[in-house]
Each structure stands twice: as C-alpha cells, then as structure tokens.
Point group: C2
Chain length 433, copies 2
C-alpha cells in the first residue's frame, strides 16, 4: 500500500465536520477502497473551540485557509468555505498553484470561475472534485462525467434545490401559500435567513451550469441561464396544475436545440406520470437524456452534512486511487464557448393564467390574439363567474399546444395592452416527461 | 496524447455491434473524453458475412475468441460472448493471463467465477469492467463501487430484469395472465425462447450477487441467494395488491441483518408510494441505502444494444484514462466470505392468500394457528362467499404485521395440515419503501 493521502480541510461547518468524522470513523474500510490510508493532517476554520464530533489530534490548525492550501503536509485541499470569491477562491487558486488536488462543494465558485480554474488544474494534471457541489449525495457529476461518456447528451435536467422543492411540496400537499412555507423552511434550517439564492433559482443555476458544461463540452456560462424563481407561484397555479394533471417543480433544464444550448431554471409543470413529478420534499433529482443509454434518472438527498460529505469523500478516494478526470470531462482547453439558444426560441407547451374581465368581447379578443400569434390551444378552463357590474375578473387557465416562446410573449403583451385582463398574466412552461 | 488504446471485441451480437459502431461514429468526441484514441483492432464472432452497421476495415478477424484475447494487438479484451463457462470463461482467463484488461457484460460468468477472476485481475492490476452486466445503461456498478465509498451500505435492491418487469406491468395494466404476457414478451424479443433465466429470477440473482459483493465487501456467492420466480403470480394477487395499496415487482434485495447478509430475488409487494413501485415496463431500477448519503435510486434502460454498449464504452474509457478500481471495489484478497442470513430469519410483513373452505371453524382454526406462531395481522380481506354445500373455497387475503419468516412458514404448514384450505397458500413478501 502506498503512503497515506494527506487531506487539508478548510471550513468545518456541517459538511467539513462530517467529512473529518467519517474519514476517522471508517478509516480502515476507506483505506481498503482507496488503496491507501487517508488522513486529515490540517484543518482551518473560524473558531477553534467547539466540539465538532471528531478528534482534532494530529491535525495542524490554520487560522488562514490560504496557508493550509499551500501546506507541505497536504496532498489534497478540501474547500468547504463557500462563496464565489474571497477566501475560497484565493485558497483554491493557491492550492492549485502549489500542486495540490482540490475537492470542493462550492458550486458558486465553479459556476463563476470554473473555466479558469479548470484550465490551471487540467494543465497541471490536478483534480478538482466537485461531486458535492451538485445534488448532494447523488453521484450526478460522476454519472455525466464518467458514465455518460459514450452518449451525445440531448438534455440534462433536474430538481436541484431541496429548499424550493420542500416549499412547493408543502404548498401542494397542504394548500399553504408560499410565504408560510418559506417561514417553516427557515425554521427547520432548510432555508437561509436570506433565502434569495434558493428561491430565486441562483443555487439551481450554479448546479445546472456545471452539469451543462460537462454534458455539452462547453465552458461554464452562468450568464446564459434564463432564471425565474418560485415566489410568484400561487395556490391558484397549484390547484389548476393538479386539475390539469401536472405538478409544479423548480426545474433546471439544459438542452441542445437547433439554435444552440438552451439553459433555464424556472418553475415548470411536469405531467404527474413523469418520474420527477413524484420527487417530493427536500429530495433532489437529476436526469440525463443520452442517445445511447436513453434516460437515466437519479433521486436522492440533495443536501445534509453526511450526504454531502459522502460526495466529498468519494472524490477524495478517486484521487487516492489515481482515478483522475479533466475537471469538466474533457481538457479545459477543448471546451467550446456556449452557443446560447435564447428563451424566445424555446419550444414547448405553456400554462397561462389570466384574470379576465367578464365583459363582452374579452374572450374573443384573447382568442384572436392567440390565433394571430399562431398559438393553438389544448385546453381552456374557467371556473365560477366574474361580475360584469363590479368588474371582478374571472381566472382563466389555458394550456397551449407546442409553440415558440416569442409567440407566447407577443400574444400576452397584446392581450395586456388590450386591457382585457387584470394584473400580469401568469405563464409557466410545461416540460414533457 | 498517449497512443491509442486498442480494443478486441469478442461477440458481435447487438451489444458488440453497437459498441464497435459507437466507437467509430464518435471517435473524436470519445478521444477527448478518454485522453487518447480508442480503436477496435480485432473482432471475433461466429459468422463473418453480415453487415453489422460498422466498418470492419482495419480490424483483424479471429475465428477463435481465445486467440483474440491474447493478441499482441489489443490492450483491452471486450467479452460479449455470454455464458458462465465455455469459450467466454476461457477467453477472459486467457486475456487476464496475457495482461489484458477485460470489459464484459457477462453477469453469469462473474456471478459464478467472479472471486477467482478478481483475484487474478487485482494482483496484476488489471481492470475487469462489468458496468454492462448489471442494469444496462444505469451506472449501478460505478455508483456502488466509486460513489458509495464513504457509506456503510445497509441494503441494495432493485428491479434487475426488464423481462419480468414488462410481464408484471402488462399483467397489472391489462388484467392479462402470466402466460399471455410471456408470449407477447417473446414475440417482442424481450424474452428468450427459453425464458427460464429471466422469469425464474436467475438473471436477477446474477446481478444482485455482483452488487452485493461490492457493497458488503464479500465474495460473490450466487448460492446464498434465495430465489422465487414470477410464474406463480396470478391476477388474484395483482388485484388484491392493488386494493391493499401495493404493486408487485420482482425485486432483488441484499441487506445486512443482525444474522449476516440476506440475499433474495422474489416477487415482492411495494407500497404504491415507493419510488420503485412506479418503475414500469422494461425499465430497471437500482437503489442503495447508505448511512451517509441516505437512499439513492437510479432508473433507466436495463437492456438494449446501445444502452449496454454505453456501459461497455464507459468502462473502456475508464481504462483509457487509467481510472482503475479493484474488481469488487476492494482487493479480491480482502473480500470476506458471505455470512449468510437465511430466509427463516427474514423480518418483514407478508401478504398471504389462502383458498379457505367455507365451513364452521375454518376461520377460527386459521386465526388460532397464526396466533400460536405469534403472528399479528394488519388486515384480512375476504370477498364474496364460499359454498358450504359444494365445498367451493373462499379466497382470503391477509397482510401480517412484521414477523419472522420461520413463523409464517410454521403457521402455513399447520394450516395446510389442518385441511382448512384448498391447494398451496400464496405468500408474497412486502418490502417497506
């Protein structure tokens, strides 16, 4: 057996502490799988004092992560500090410059600086393991980077944020509104005090950007992802979805179209029969459509200290065994710029909810605008009655046949301008299977 | 870039032809992922004549697979001949002896001779890739061998045979009996002319044995798997399952119990809410319960030329990149013998269907026998009435609370001996979630 692989862990929050603890508790079993011992020789965190459930004995303490990153006593730098810039970025860059492999759970860092970091790592034949950055314990990165290699991938998609999925599931199951579910998610620790990154889709976008880069062999390009969060989803939408045979999920989708690569994170309606429609609560799911293996769907815990540590450790063991892979599956120098396919050419069916004033000509006007834009309708549903005297509007839900998004936007803009509806129209994309 | 990796393919059926074709068609994309070219330099099959959809130019032809296996012009021997013994085994042994890596889809070979072959391969630092042997395009082997490495696995289970799942799905959806669905499966090419290996569970057992060896670090031991096929499943069972909230799947389950490792392939009732209950048709599914990552479930195509070739090629690319792993995840010399936990100690709930003669004392007698064996009942369901005069028996279905299998067997044996029931009782195990 070779000499032990020496690990430095920067950041001893839930994931860092779980990583150190599991490496200690299962040292023998892990050494058998890794072909050598794996020892944590250095750690870095803000406060030294508290008990984190593992033995700090034999570990050097670093107040500054950047010093740990270049320590002569580590072979692998595990970055669990977080944040796209600042100390995490500086430490990872320092580690690579010093010839250390890197393992990280930092999706923001890689989504923003992945191309540059990969170039450094690939040229030096160093690993940047980031299984923990996407979908927690689900081996999504390993699957797209190592298992899908014979496939031309047409689409990768998933439920990539457990907080949003928890909120949408509660809203659906219990008929609660968004704000209430968000408060519960915060109380349970599923959502941050500032929940923006989760509920506005930024966290999902980071993960999608990494998956897309690998499956399409393109540079990570966060800016080419179209983003809508879940805060505008209401009980009206969930009830209509249920009646029409759909569920609403915050879905990240990257797909090859005739125009290029379309990437979006939006609330999306899935037919109830779709496997991902049934993924509920804090679970995550990732699916890959390949021309050789068909569709592979993976479901599991997307977060949590031990699940994420499990991904960190699997990356460490790959390094210990010498199982190295270019950061994004092919050498960074061969990654192509993203040929972005914008949302105006998105093709699909749409759910629309309009609050229509109940007055003569309103319906006809709306139907005419749809027809003018070449949109054909699969179903139209109205419930109850409006009130012609008070002018109280009537909610109308429409499912369109496949069409292009620019036509939908055009029709909705004209319908708004015609003054037939109250407020903004709601529009949710439908994803088939 | 290193020199090309040279591949010899023995067996040019659907999977072999797909493998050669994809390697040719995607040569450039695959070379980027593999870090070097991958070329098929030799092939072997029964007949040379027919067009298989790829260009044989530049490939040496071998009438005898064993000669291809030791050819100086190959680095990797891809065995797609099939069969646990005979030419497949001889060729794989010859390839390893000659220092060639092996990639195979042959579950029978590895389930029966895996321990011995792994010993040879691990000592010579050669790969035996067998992703294609288990669940087709689903990266089940990669997941248990490389992604689950931080976990102590408590259970691995799955729908491992598409033929059986197709038959059970048709029976359930269309109310057809087993024989009719089997005929259709044969007509569609989903089942062999001799369907025994599929419907009696042998094929699933081979796959389960391989998964179990990896997750428990134990020698492959086909003989310790308890086996029941699906041919005794009737519409009565499917209807009762549906009413009771279950679906019936042929499930392979390997789990750690207090007594050791329990391995079984049996028709199993799953709650309709369980993710795997909804895996229908020819799809396969594999789930792993680990103490760190929780439960990971993967669903996808379990068979088919391209899906299986996708797995073969991912193994080849791992070898091209030098991503080597001991055959069963830890060195073969460290695999422990299976400490078998027999079915008599299986703990779980049971579905029982008895044809009870409608006569005084029959019910009481059955209930007494259950109570004597310490079995408590969750539900009991009878439909219609028997006929005390003609003696026509009455079907009664019972769901027990958790109990041990030896108690169920004891009670059923006594009930049979008491003469209260017609024919053999039906007994199906229930798996929670």
């Amino acid at each position: 057996m070779s000499r032990p692989l020496r690990i430095g862990i920067a950041g001893l929050g839930t994931v860092g502490a779980s990583t150190a603890r599991i490496l200690q508790q299962k040292a023998n079993a892990i050494a058998l799988k890794a072909g050598r011992g794996i020892v944590v020789t250095g750690v870095s965190a803000r406060s030294r004092g508290k008990d984190r459930g593992f033995d700090l004995g034999g570990m050097a303490w670093f107040d500054d992560a950047a010093n740990l990153a270049v320590s002569d006593d580590i072979d692998v730098f595990v970055e669990l500090i977080g944040g796209a810039n600042g100390p995490a970025k500086a430490a990872v860059e320092a580690a690579l410059d010093a010839g250390k492999h890197v393992v990280t759970a930092n999706k923001a860092l890689l989504a923003e600086h992945g191309a540059a970091l990969a170039r450094v790592a690939d040229e030096a034949n160093l690993a940047i393991g980031f299984e923990a950055a996407v979908a927690g314990g689900i081996p999504a990165i390993k699957t797209v980077r190592e298992a899908a290699t014979a496939n031309t991938v047409n689409r990768v998609f998933g439920i990539l944020n457990g907080t949003c999925n928890y909120i949408l599931t509660r809203m659906e199951d219990e008929g609660l509104e968004f704000d209430e579910c968000l408060k519960d998610a915060q109380a349970l620790g599923y959502a941050e005090a500032d929940p923006t990154a989760d509920i506005e889709g930024h966290d999902s976008a980071h993960k999608l950007a990494l998956l897309a880069a690998i499956v399409f062999g393109s540079e990570v390009d966060l800016n080419s992802i179209y983003l809508e969060g879940i805060s505008a989803i209401s009980q009206d939408d969930l009830r209509a979805a249920d009646e029409l045979g759909y569920r609403i999920k915050l879905l990240g989708v990257a797909q090859q179209t005739e125009q290029g690569i379309e990437q979006r994170v939006t609330p999306t309606m899935l037919p109830k029969s779709a496997p991902m429609a049934r993924v509920s609560g804090v679970l995550n799911a990732v699916a890959v459509d390949g021309d050789a293996f068909g569709e592979i769907t993976m479901v599991g815990a997307g977060a949590g200290g031990d699940a994420t540590a499990s991904a960190v450790i699997s990356d460490i063991i790959d390094i210990a065994r010498g199982r190295l892979t270019p950061v994004f599956g092919i050498p960074a120098a061969s990654l192509s710029p993203v040929n972005r396919s914008g949302m105006q050419t998105h093709a699909g069916a749409y759910y629309l909810r309009l609050n229509v004033y109940d007055r003569p000509g309103a319906f006809a006007g709306i139907a005419t605008r749809m027809a003018e834009s070449g949109i054909s309708l699969e179903s139209i549903m109205q419930k109850g009655r409006g009130d012609t005297e008070t002018g109280k509007p009537l909610p109308v839900t429409i499912i369109t046949h496949n069409t292009m998004e620019e036509h939908i936007r055009e029709a909705l803009a004209r319908i708004e301008a015609d003054g037939h509806i109250e407020g903004r129209p709601q529009m949710i994309r439908i994803e088939k299977a």
